[in-house]
Symmetry: C2
Subunit: 216 residues, 2 copies
């Protein structure tokens, strides 16, 4: 599962693989905080070095360019998202309930990590072509996950969807509204959003319109 994404392995001066791993974690932690607060462009490499307790030169022993740091951060984030997602929906049989659970978990993740999601949407264009391809790949597996749920629901006759892939993309995208439009959603709670989106989507794709979730 995405463990073998197109790695674009970062060139390092240092040889020790174990050390590289630890340092990369260190760098990610520091960079993530700074990027979230100030954005990628406004954060200097010096700041990152200072924040993770390394000299600039040392930092550059573990990366080749500033962009590499962004790449590290993204990779780490998306892997953790995907893991949580799989964990939260594993073993649910009913497609309707599984979709509901997937939506709920994604929104919870997005709620906890709003800084990160903003970073993903706003700064990803700072990556080069190769870096973007890597991101796309991960996103595709995430979307593919929603798509599988939709497909199962369609086969079971519960969902009426003509373009499952398109819809999967839309559903996942819609979750980001909570982060990208939060300034226009003040006053709403996470629970309200979960409920509203779930209702909208489940009703929107339901094959049997009489079985409405949360009819009220």
């Amino acid at each position: 599962m995405a463990t073998d994404m197109p790695q674009k392995d970062i060139e390092t001066i240092v040889k020790d693989q174990d050390l590289i791993g630890r340092r990369h974690l260190q760098i990610c932690d520091a960079a993530l905080k700074l990027f979230s607060r100030k954005g990628f462009h406004r954060t200097t490499v010096r700041e990152i070095a200072e924040a993770c307790g390394l000299g600039i030169g040392t930092l550059y022993s573990y990366i080749k360019t500033k962009e590499d740091i962004l790449h590290l951060v993204y990779r780490r984030i998306l892997e953790s998202f995907e893991a949580r997602m799989l964990e939260a929906t594993r073993g649910i049989q009913d497609p309707r309930l599984q979709l509901k659970a997937a939506l709920e978990e994604t929104l919870k993740i997005y709620d906890e990590c709003q800084d990160v999601v903003l970073l993903l949407y706003q700064e990803s264009h700072a990556l080069g072509r190769q870096g973007l391809q890597g991101l796309f790949e991960v996103d595709r597996t995430y979307v593919g996950f929603f798509r599988e749920i939709l497909d199962r629901g369609i086969r079971a006759g519960q969902f009426a969807v003509k373009e499952p892939h398109l819809l999967a993309v839309c559903i996942l995208f819609l979750c980001a509204v909570w982060d990208l439009k939060r300034w226009n959603l003040q006053g709403y709670t996470l629970e309200t959003v979960i409920e509203s989106l779930t209702t909208l989507i489940l009703n929107g794709i339901s094959a049997d319109p009489l079985v409405k979730l949360q009819p009220q």
Copy 2:
């Protein structure tokens, strides 16, 4: 209509208001192309000056900072979006049809102006607080427009929506999927997306589930 948004009027050296207006248009046109192609940060003021046929010094007679240019561009874009939107839905009585028309027009705009929409989502954080407030204001009127349609539909008993504002935000946001996730939507046509989103949303909020649009 948004003509009196919090203007954050740009300080200029030049006095002639008419000239300022023309020059600002000139600057917008040039900057928009460059920003779309290279993003805000990677575009230099020198390039903008050259592209709009002004000297750097002259350009700086019509703005105070580089950020001002972004602000000008955004203002112009959003005003034109709103105008098209109003034009396309004016006079439609049935809330269902009006919502459908609003969705369709928004998606068409977003299709034509994908560079611009990307710019809006990716670079808006380069604006200061004041600039952002201005954007938010315009976005709110745009959202408010969808909200009015929803409210009318609710009063008419056609829509079952608990949180109309939240839903309006979601609907408008969802349209951006066509631009922000286009790399994952290759192969789909604008028409397919319009149809799928319209179906999803109208079914998702319909009070009477038996009246499905495009049941097929």
